[in-house]
């Protein structure tokens, strides 16, 4: 059995909105092992954003336990969680969130700048390696505003990889991209999965479930289905079958 990366035990998260208490998560439990590619799906209001925030250590549950790589997160303070995010998690956002007017290399370096254990030379070396992995070895010195959406998302993925995280958290990572570029990004995620990365892909697009190894569906703060996908569809094949747009 592979190592447990994430273990959720009866996770609940309530928000106070005015005088009312909103129950965003009402007892969610699951375990994710090393090397899983999990899609978490749900319509808006299903609690997937809240779950994503908690999984990303940006938020803490009201009750229940969350272990990330064996570390209990619920009782951690703000600064400890920041350090944990820096070492264990790589984020990929829907809108890329790259620093403007900054080169790809500098964007990728960013997480390592907040890790004082990494020297300047190692920082550049690792950032370069990460950019090579996402296929941008010829765009390292391009500024973020000189790149296409797909390229920007690749830079963001490289930034998520650079600190060698145990978990990559993607939040609607293909949401802003056209179909063809979306599939090319999915191809990249599948490649990373093959290399043994643990990936959680949060989306509301049901199509994407067929490309992952496991699919969790949330509704009203509860898990309604949790299925393993034995017949993983290759994103590369879909990508190749798409007509090349040249109009």
């Amino acid at each position: 059995m592979a190592k447990e990366i994430i273990k959720l035990d009866n996770l609940r998260r309530y928000f106070k909105v005015g005088n009312e208490e909103v129950h965003a998560l009402r007892g969610v439990s699951f375990t994710i092992h090393e090397g899983d590619f999990v899609t978490i799906m749900g319509t808006s209001g299903s609690g997937k954003s809240t779950l994503l925030n908690i999984l990303g250590c940006l938020d803490t549950p009201t009750s229940g336990e969350y272990y990330l790589d064996g570390i209990p997160v619920r009782t951690m303070g703000k600064n400890d969680r920041a350090a944990l995010r820096n070492r264990k998690i790589g984020f990929v956002f829907q809108n890329y969130n790259l620093l403007p007017k900054t080169t790809a290399l500098e964007n990728v370096e960013l997480p390592l700048l907040y890790n004082s254990k990494v020297s300047a030379r190692e920082r550049i070396k690792r950032a370069t390696e990460a950019l090579v992995q996402v296929g941008l070895h010829d765009r390292m010195m391009h500024k973020s505003n000189q790149m296409s959406g797909g390229q920007q998302q690749r830079v963001a993925i490289a930034r998520a990889l650079v600190n060698d995280p145990v978990l990559i958290l993607a939040d609607e990572a293909t949401g802003n991209l056209d179909t063809r570029t979306s599939y090319s990004i999915l191809v990249l995620f599948q490649e990373l999965h093959k290399k043994g990365r643990t990936i959680i892909f949060v989306t509301h697009n049901p199509e994407l479930a067929q490309f992952s190894s496991r699919n969790i569906v949330l509704r009203d703060g509860k898990i309604v289905s949790d299925t393993l996908n034995t017949n993983i569809k290759s994103a590369q094949e879909v990508y190749d079958s798409l007509p090349v747009e040249n109009d």
Partner: protein
């Protein structure tokens, strides 16, 4: 998180907004430059006033006989006969804070040399008089103590007298001129001092041994006044106390008796003038300080806007592992870099402006080291103080909301 990385991050963020950065700095630049220029002008004029006063002899002390009422008539000080040559000698020996002392007896009369004549005064003094009045002998020399003992018929003349009596330009030294009927040998000519601030010709002067004036000109056994100089301007009050002590002992005055002499010094004038220019300096510094404050508020304003504008960037930094204090440090460093860079440019501009004022307007300028240091300290403080609030606000942002901020 080490400091070098934070600096790198802050510098990068500033480089992305060069124009805004420069405009923010402008407030600080103008503030610092005006502090330095204003203080340089203020201090310069203060120094020039001090120099003018010390030309006149800022440590000079004048001792006059006291006035008295005799039979209902107030007597003029010159007619009082309370000061004697022995008082002069006692002061010379017994007042340690007095460096130079000279009696002063004078008389008006006509100087004659051949066909030329000129009305002036004769001043009976001792050689110390030169030091007290900051005079120097240019040609020849001053008379000696021996001339004083023997009441020798010698004199030292100012350039105005020299020009009037010797219009052909020959050296007066060694020549004999006559004051009224008394022949006097010229032993020296004083260096020209020009007119003083009251419009008096300081070169219209003849110095002779006081004994000569007392015995041969006026035929009196008292002196009209004593001039003394304190070791420094600051020691003037001690010197005055010592002189008072000596004179009261000499005059055998009882505890209850009033002084039968009066003592004046230049200190009141000096302190009055320097307090005026001190006030000017304070005023200028206040104006400059206010502009520095406005510059600081400019920094706060821009940093505040910058925090709002960069909310998503802050959210991103937090999500990839920046702690609250990293964000705080980044924004603080940004504002301190702005203020210190502004400070450096301001110092350069201020010094240049001061030199330009000196070069074009010929105002006395004195750039103060303390004003440069002060501006720097204030700049750093301004950066930290006005950067703190926006930085604190940035560091307290919730990463979830910051990431979602539109």
């Amino acid at each position: 998180m080490n400091l070098a990385n934070l600096f790198k991050i802050a510098l990068k963020a500033l480089a992305n907004n060069k124009m805004r950065c420069f405009l923010t700095m402008l407030g600080i630049i103008i503030g610092v430059a005006s502090v330095i220029t204003m203080l340089a002008i203020g201090q310069g004029s203060k120094q020039s006033i001090r120099e003018q006063i010390s030309e006149m002899g800022s440590n000079m002390i004048m001792i006059m006989p006291g006035t008295d009422v005799r039979g209902g008539v107030r007597q003029s000080a010159e007619d009082m006969q309370t000061l004697k040559p022995v008082d002069y000698e006692s002061i010379r020996e017994n007042a340690p804070h007095v460096v130079g002392v000279s009696p002063n007896v004078s008389s008006a009369g006509q100087y004659v040399n051949g066909n030329n004549n000129y009305p002036s005064q004769i001043n009976g003094v001792s050689p110390d008089y030169l030091d007290i009045r900051k005079l120097t002998v240019e040609d020849g020399s001053i008379f000696t103590e021996r001339d004083i003992k023997s009441a020798a018929k010698v004199c030292v003349i100012g350039t105005t007298i020299a020009e009037e009596l010797f219009p052909n330009g020959e050296s007066p030294v060694g020549k004999v001129i006559r004051f009224n009927k008394i022949p006097l040998t010229v032993v020296g000519v004083l260096k020209s001092k020009g007119y003083n601030s009251m419009g008096q010709d300081q070169d219209d002067i003849v110095l002779a041994p006081y004994t000569t004036v007392m015995k041969r000109v006026l035929a009196i056994d008292y002196i009209q006044g004593i001039l003394a100089s304190a070791t420094t301007e600051e020691h003037t009050p001690q010197a005055i106390d010592e002189i008072t002590e000596v004179l009261r002992t000499n005059h055998k005055l009882k505890e209850t008796d009033n002084d039968d002499f009066t003592i004046h010094s230049q200190q009141e004038l000096s302190s009055m003038l320097s307090s005026t220019s001190d006030m000017m300096t304070t005023l200028l510094a206040c104006i400059a300080g206010i502009s520095l404050l406005v510059g600081g508020i400019g920094i706060m304003n821009i940093m505040y806007v910058s925090v709002t504008e960069r909310t998503r960037e802050i959210g991103l930094r937090m999500s990839i592992g920046a702690k609250g204090r990293d964000i705080l440090a980044q924004f603080l460093i940004e504002s301190v870099i702005i203020s210190i860079t502004g400070g450096v440019i301001g110092v350069i501009c201020g010094c240049t402006a001061a030199l330009v004022v000196k070069g074009i307007l010929h105002w006395p300028i004195s750039i103060q080291a303390y004003s440069v240091i002060l501006s720097f300290v204030v700049c750093t403080f301004t950066g930290v103080f006005f950067g703190w609030y926006p930085a604190k606000k940035a560091s307290n942002l919730d990463p979830i909301e910051a990431l979602r901020y539109e």
